[in-house]
């Protein structure tokens, strides 16, 4: 039954124990530079692109900028549930196709004008623009009248049918089909129409204002130095209350020097990659470290169009025959875990009740024997006179890959399978895998969205050139379950559906699942109110974040 979601749901499936917080042990070691910086918060980041517009921002880092400056209709809480933001509440119609949002009154943009339904309509219409070339199209594609509006270059169609302003504080969106995850399409920041307004087709106007963004958010952009930093000033009239920190600087850091930046007190918050680095930060003593599984997983893709890999037993044998735990221990040193299904442990759809594929070379050998791959005296397996050689395409510049290669080669070599790795630049690999589909085996990782719907990756519809189902896994049962999951609005029921689907994926192995890694975020002990977790970052409730004195 469609629900009217308000506030966090009763669903507490995010396993809190997944988040590990290491408290600062020696706050007094906080360097003087940090102590002296009373009203400025410095957050380490990878360089944003400067596309400071919520409907254009491509990278995570641009979206941080956007979430400081703009507010969306809805937002999400730490558990990954939608929560009200600009919209006080919302309704979803019975058929799941109509979304009505009720906007809180009195929200002001930075220039003091009030935020109304017109602005929301403007924002979503902009995404539908025929000349729109940003990454948000998927958010509006299922809006009624999208095609008409988007295909029309002569400016005959003036509005998108599915976007309807009911009154200044109510807006309604109509979709062509019902989909449970659709709610997430309404989280993007709202652009003030009076500021950004443009003729249909003249989307360039938006681009010209990338570096002069204006929204209703807690902060305003003060200064942007490309490749170096973004500086924000607080919005004293913020509708959720005046922010406590005057200035925020997003300073560009990199993996090589992040530890030095943090420990020398130059940066208050930053993500730290490797466990060894976490160790160094821990020793510094004045950081709280938040460590939790990220919403992603790494896998090996086998081309299921290849006769050899069509055989489930072969896939399973390869899975059993790979010491994934060994690899993860070597590479992540406790900062990762084995993955057995395409869902992250942080998701409410995650389940443990599946085959763990413990390292078992004997079983692997048995399965391969069964599949007809015979080991000859040269130590390799043959079938129909053909040697079992796998050409493995992988990408360069990654320590992950460099550790994985010797282990795969070694492990599968022992099974009698020769692996020939071939490294290429990531973009090349992507083209080969997704566009040309010329591969036997590759490896990559997926970074997932909050909603656990797997159809964006595994559906039959994605089994086209350019589609995400590169391995070509088409399974009737899976199609059925995914469809059910999409149209079911009750989370408990969806959870059950996805449990089944994950079991299926675990059995069928469209991918050889490898690993989950952990994110580690270091937050200086002088910063209060930042509690990063898989679904929320430091920008969450930024107006409540404060800098405190440390003894």
């Amino acid at each position: 039954k469609p629900s009217s979601n308000q506030g966090s749901s009763d669903n507490k499936s995010l396993n809190k124990s997944q988040i590990e917080i290491i408290q600062a042990t020696n706050p007094e070691k906080l360097p003087q530079v940090a102590r002296d910086r009373k009203d400025t918060l410095i957050v380490g980041t990878t360089a944003p692109n400067g596309t400071f517009n919520p409907i254009y921002s491509g990278s995570l880092y641009d979206s941080w900028v956007c979430s400081l400056i703009f507010d969306g209709l809805i937002s999400n809480d730490a558990e990954g549930n939608p929560i009200p933001n600009v919209a006080e509440k919302w309704d979803i119609s019975e058929d799941g196709k109509t979304y009505t949002f009720y906007i809180k009154k009195g929200i002001k943009f930075h220039d003091g004008k009030e935020l109304t339904a017109e602005d929301v309509a403007f924002t979503f219409t902009a995404i539908c623009d025929p000349n729109y070339d940003g990454p948000r199209t998927d958010a509006v594609m299922y809006l009624e009248g999208y095609e008409e509006y988007n295909k029309d270059k002569e400016n005959k169609v003036k509005e998108v049918k599915g976007i309807k302003v009911i009154d200044p504080y109510t807006i309604q969106f109509t979709l062509t089909e019902a989909q449970a995850p659709a709610i997430w399409n309404f989280g993007y920041g709202i652009l003030p129409k009076h500021y950004y307004v443009f003729e249909k087709g003249n989307i360039k106007k938006l681009k010209d204002l990338f570096l002069k963004p204006m929204g209703s958010g807690a902060y305003t952009l003060k200064n942007y130095k490309p490749g170096a930093e973004v500086v924000f000033e607080k919005n004293p009239n913020y509708w959720k209350g005046e922010p406590k920190i005057k200035t925020i600087v997003m300073k560009v850091t990199n993996a090589n020097t992040v530890v030095q930046e943090l420990t020398s007190g130059n940066v208050d918050i930053d993500a730290v990659g490797k466990p060894e680095m976490v160790e160094l930060i821990k020793q510094a003593g004045f950081f709280n470290i938040y460590s939790y599984p990220s919403n992603s997983y790494g896998y090996i893709g086998l081309n299921l169009r290849d006769e050899r890999f069509k055989d489930k037993r072969v896939r399973q044998a390869l899975m059993y025959g790979l010491d994934r735990k060994g690899f993860i221990n070597a590479y992540y040193k406790g900062n990762g875990q084995v993955c057995n299904a395409p869902v992250s442990p942080v998701s409410w759809a995650y389940t443990d009740e599946i085959n763990q594929y413990e390292y078992n070379p004997d079983l692997a050998n048995k399965l391969l024997d069964e599949a007809g791959w015979v080991k000859k005296e040269d130590g390799f397996r043959y079938k129909d006179g053909k040697k079992f050689i796998i050409h493995w395409m992988t990408y360069t510049g990654s320590k992950y890959v460099e550790s994985l290669i010797p282990i795969v080669k070694d492990n599968w070599g022992k099974l009698g399978i020769e692996v020939v790795p071939e490294l290429m630049e990531f973009g090349t690999l992507v083209e080969k895998v997704y566009d040309k589909r010329e591969f036997e085996m590759y490896n990559m990782a997926w970074s997932l969205s909050i909603d656990p719907d797997p159809s964006g990756i595994f559906s039959k519809a994605q089994d086209v050139p350019g589609g995400n189902n590169s391995v070509g896994w088409v399974n009737e049962e899976s199609e059925k379950l995914m469809k059910q999951g999409l149209t079911e609005f009750n989370q408990e029921k969806r959870k059950e559906i996805y449990k089944q689907w994950n079991k299926l994926a675990n059995e069928e192995l469209p991918y050889l699942f490898l690993s989950y890694n952990k994110d580690n975020v270091a937050v200086s002990c002088r910063v209060k109110g930042v509690n990063p977790s898989p679904y929320i970052d430091w920008t969450y409730d930024i107006q409540n974040v404060e800098i405190v004195d440390v003894k």
Binding site: V252, T257, M444, W446, S449
Partner: protein, 320 residues
């Protein structure tokens, strides 16, 4: 000479056009495009197709080239796929940072390497020579990220003499001389790394061509005139030894603008080096074209300057 320069400048036009076509074709032939680089479960195949159309990526090379040329003729260099902004603006916002750093390093290494090279030559096989030879070889055989990290550890973390990275203090609003001082403070470490890398080449070239020259008869004449050894070496000998060095100087012109990928990355210097690499990764052709054409132009200019300088340095060379 004026004629020669004019001719060479005119020659540059077809060469640049040729190069632009060449670069364009190579970009098109290189695997992947700006859209295929997007790997996101939220982005469907349809959306990708739409984007391709929007960016003209589906059309034949020639048509795409036409679009690019038309953008150029309109006075802008097209729009970066990744930054969604005019290429000239993107380049402009990074290239000067690279230029300041590279120029400083170029000047520093020229100022250091020439005298060191000269001294190494005049005191061939002395302790001085050995020390700097070894120094130079360390400079070229060790990767720059190693030096970078080492310097950061020593000078930024342990001694706290210099900032770890960046070009200015976070959130700084300094202007004028204060800004200059701030930038210099941040520049020190990357400058050392870059200079160390380029020192060796110049130094060794200077040394070897000095070695050739200091045994010439006219050096003896200069000495016989009673000139001070400094004048003999730095005026009479160096001028003759400069020819290969001039070539290197000419060749370093594009380098002044192209940025140093690794050093800039390690020190988070907001230069163009990492941007170019990123443009390759994201297959941002308009941006790549822009950067490469700029560098091509500078390369041609640098070589022209070197050629003209030969004739100025060595009157025996006739330019035709």
């Amino acid at each position: 000479m004026r004629q020669y320069i004019t001719r060479r400048l005119l020659e540059m036009i077809p060469v640049l056009i040729g190069i632009s076509i060449l670069i364009f074709v190579i970009f098109q032939l290189a695997p992947g495009d700006a859209v295929s680089a997007i790997v996101d479960p939220k982005t469907s195949a349809e959306t990708k197709a739409k984007l391709r159309e929007q960016l003209h990526l589906n059309e034949p090379i020639l048509v795409q080239y036409k679009y690019w040329v038309m953008d150029i003729l309109k006075g802008q260099w097209g729009e970066s796929f990744y930054y969604k902004q005019p290429v000239s603006r993107v380049i402009n916002s990074f290239i000067w940072n690279s230029f300041y750093l590279s120029l400083a390093s170029f000047l520093l290494s020229a100022i250091l390497s020439i005298p060191i090279g000269v001294l190494s030559a005049t005191k061939q096989y002395s302790k001085f020579d050995y020390i700097f030879t070894i120094f130079a070889l360390i400079g070229i055989s060790m990767p720059s990220f190693f030096f970078g990290l080492l310097l950061i550890k020593w000078f930024a973390v342990d001694l706290k003499l210099f900032p770890v990275s960046g070009m200015t203090n976070p959130g700084s609003t300094a202007t004028g001389f204060a800004l200059f001082k701030e930038v210099m403070h941040h520049m020190a470490l990357p400058l050392i790394v870059l200079t160390l890398g380029s020192l060796a080449g110049l130094m060794r070239y200077t040394r070897s061509s000095m070695l050739e020259v200091i045994r010439q008869d006219y050096i003896r004449t200069a000495r016989a005139k009673g000139l001070r050894e400094k004048v003999v070496i730095y005026k009479h000998a160096l001028r003759n030894a400069l020819i290969p060095v001039v070539t290197i100087f000419g060749m370093s012109l594009p380098g002044l603008f192209s940025g140093a990928i690794i050093t800039e990355q390690i020190f988070n210097w907001p230069g163009i080096g990492p941007i170019e690499l990123q443009a390759v990764n994201t297959r941002d052709y308009p941006l790549l074209m822009g950067i490469n054409m700029l560098l091509a132009l500078l390369t041609l200019l640098g070589n022209l300057i070197a050629d003209v300088t030969y004739a100025l340095v060595d009157p025996r060379i006739r330019l035709k």
